[in-house]
Symmetry: C2
Subunit: 200 residues, 2 copies
Amino acid sequence: MTIQAQRPRGRRPGRTDTKASIQAAALTLFSELGYEKVSLRAIARAADVDPALIHHYFDNKADLFSRSVLDLPLDADAIVREILDGPTDRIGERTVSAFLDAWDRPGAGDRFNAMLRAAVTDPHARRPLSEFMTKEVLIKVAESLGHPNARLRAQLAVAQLLGLALCRDIFELPGLVKARNPVLVRSLGRAMQALLVDQW
Amino acid sequence: MTIQAQRPRGRRPGRTDTKASIQAAALTLFSELGYEKVSLRAIARAADVDPALIHHYFDNKADLFSRSVLDLPLDADAIVREILDGPTDRIGERTVSAFLDAWDRPGAGDRFNAMLRAAVTDPHARRPLSEFMTKEVLIKVAESLGHPNARLRAQLAVAQLLGLALCRDIFELPGLVKARNPVLVRSLGRAMQALLVDQW
């Protein structure tokens, strides 16, 4: 899991406000419409800024999503590369490990859980996190392995990861709370391997 | 998945009320305390009936739980036998199949989803379903295979099953909604096999 380098802070007055208003518009639109249906153009329009300004502050849609909704700078492309870089028979383990790294970063877990709770209760807010995980990370992993059913595989993988978050962090099932990450990576990694990599 | 035979209806006046008051007390206590911490004795006390009466109407705690909380007669022991009866290398598939059968029974899905939503939002109501699945079904499967870490395996399996329910039925991820049960059984069955049966 890669944390992007901090961008240089702007000195021009109003610059922070512009960035903040882009982030606020992004948070609103992603929460209302999910991840896939929102375009950078629509965010620019809602924030009343020139679309080029979004590219000035954010690398791409995934970067804007992670910095506005997750409040956590995640480089999705780097995560994909980390998962794929290494022996194929451990892709499942590296996938589970990457997500546990993200969740267990200070402050991130509370944020993820709040999103998960909101997603369950508010039908309008339910898909951004699962769509982001699917589209920016897991579908790319499955596609790179040449699977025609990459979308289904990615969504099965999302279900497994969110099931873990739900049962460990919200329901607090004691065996999962106590389990150390290497044990979770080993056990869930094999299950993830079956979902993402194995033939079926 | 086995549906228990209907019991003969009582003719004695007040009999239905007694049964209903036991079920109401059970629903309240299981929702407040989870599955494991509630005893039949405590339910009898809350319903103000003799504990022997509970055994008159219900086989055991699992039966009372399924008929009061799930509102669905499930014979947990029969489900365990069905999962274990057959080749060991397909235990994962039979486990996924058994749960899909239960969820997809008419009326059951809405009930499960309502429980899942309530469990996420109300911290007092969060564990009965996952504890029931763990203790009455999945831990027995894992123990019968001789695994010392049966509880952890059972909770990992619960996480996978509830993750599927969450992402298919509440978040409605399109690939999962469209997937037919035999495809889910085949794909998730292998993952479940890794969690419940394989060495790790």
